[in-house]
Symmetry: C2
Subunit: 301 residues, 2 copies
Amino acid sequence: MSNYKMSIEEKKFLEKYDITQYECPSIAADIAIISILQDGESENFRKLPKKCLKILLIKRANYPYKDCWALPGGFCRPDEDVYETAKRELLEETNVKNAYLQMAGIYGEIGRDPRGWIISNTFLALMDGEQCHLRAGTDAWEARWFSVELEKFEKKNELDEESAIVETEYTVKLCNESADLIMVAKVMEYKEFKNYHETIRYEILDSDGLAFDHAKIILQTLLSLRKKVENEPTIVFDLMPETFTLTQLQNAFEIILQEKLLTANFRRKIADYVVETEQIIEGAGHRPAKLFRRNVKTFYR
Amino acid sequence: MSNYKMSIEEKKFLEKYDITQYECPSIAADIAIISILQDGESENFRKLPKKCLKILLIKRANYPYKDCWALPGGFCRPDEDVYETAKRELLEETNVKNAYLQMAGIYGEIGRDPRGWIISNTFLALMDGEQCHLRAGTDAWEARWFSVELEKFEKKNELDEESAIVETEYTVKLCNESADLIMVAKVMEYKEFKNYHETIRYEILDSDGLAFDHAKIILQTLLSLRKKVENEPTIVFDLMPETFTLTQLQNAFEIILQEKLLTANFRRKIADYVVETEQIIEGAGHRPAKLFRRNVKTFYR
DNA sequence: AAAATAGTGTCTGTCAGACAGTATATC
DNA sequence: GATATACTGTCTGACAGACACTATTTT
């Protein structure tokens, strides 16, 4: 681009070129903002607070899907990159400047938004939930953290010699902090192997109180989060504060991967990524834990 | 979506809603179509043909970037999903119905297209190059396979205690089959670690004969291809024909990962994914190889 | 026989998983 | 001392890397 020179002919072409003659869609950036936060009060002073995966949702004040819950997001303006839109929205909603923010998917199915042709570019954001200061609620504005859990039920597995369809029913359980609002969405996954190639398709069975196709987006983004953590474990640190105990870090991994890890093995695995600090967690009814921080040098090769 | 009922009030809102009041971008789907093909003739009857990574490029017949080479692609129509656009374009260009086709990135930088606000959703396609029948060339149409090679040069590595920038200069070498057209593009990668989060940015230094920001797109897509293969090795099979020798398969891995693999280890690793056939490759000046096919059952868990 | 590729057996060191055991705060 | 968590040492088996060796075809 930098060393591209236009001819006079090309300039003339561009002057005549009328881009408005083509029909075009509005572009939205919707963000799955994920963090790990305490889930209710600890029932016992001795026990550590129970944490779980949280996602930020916003109650829609306007049609369509008025009063439904949706991913935070907004429309892309002509003077910004979609990535900038996402960054701006993230800042507006959470007041957090620094977070993991990566593209996750494109949702452009026709009819997905009753207002017309609107394509959603979705993002995954990971942040330390404690850093987040939600925009205050008003009559027209309400943002809440929802705990989120996935359940999986593999339904069928038909196959002949060279092809197969694997149907999986996913249940996405969302629950707000006061536990008075619970949404249970159901989404089917169709994984098809045919002609030596794989295709995946998702279909919403039940959106419950979720707006648009956001049940699908939430599911797919959470599944991609797990894969990302398996392939690039360091992104879990994006969910952590500046200092943390190793148990907290292990919990974060366990919550995302949905499996118990053995402490000794876990610590060996992440040893290079952390540095011990002088500090110690105090006040718990048990042996206090050392606080660690990231060993930044190991985060790039 | 399925069980969403509209109120009368909502219907009224939607009737009044005028989406055309907002400025909106055109959406393009551009595809990096990758395959592995023979590179020139074998110089010796005994030796196996040398294969290399190829990418399909199209010579632009119109402004802007007339006579430059670009990724195949096209605009998204109001009646289709972006994914369908990509699929349609792929079929039009190559006449291949079955290929690996996955979203790769979004490019929406302002000024990336002199015609106006055009956002490109990019895709990665992997196919058996032998299956591909390129649309015939005309005065206004030319599509060619280009061999593609990456070179990497890590320039700096500045860092203080908690932050760092890693600057890497990438050279993308593209060469057509008759070796009379060589393009050498240069793209910088800026990997920044700051405030405990990583951000990556790319900047084109020299596009050579490539249109738009396609040098950047090609680089990023190739880098993501390598990562994908490391995390999910089975996608390499999408580049293979129905039957293949294990040496051909190993070559495919070596070409993508840019490293020599040890045969014995490689074969152990992929043993579960393949099944021996009765067939044998004949006519080479050396011991003939058995032909294998995919063991489809192992491609899903 | 020479050339070139096809294909196998085995040693070794590393590392993940499992588990047992020790340490240390608060109440 | 009871409770609950913090933290470490070591055994085991799986597996990736390295390398040597054998096999088989055509010219």
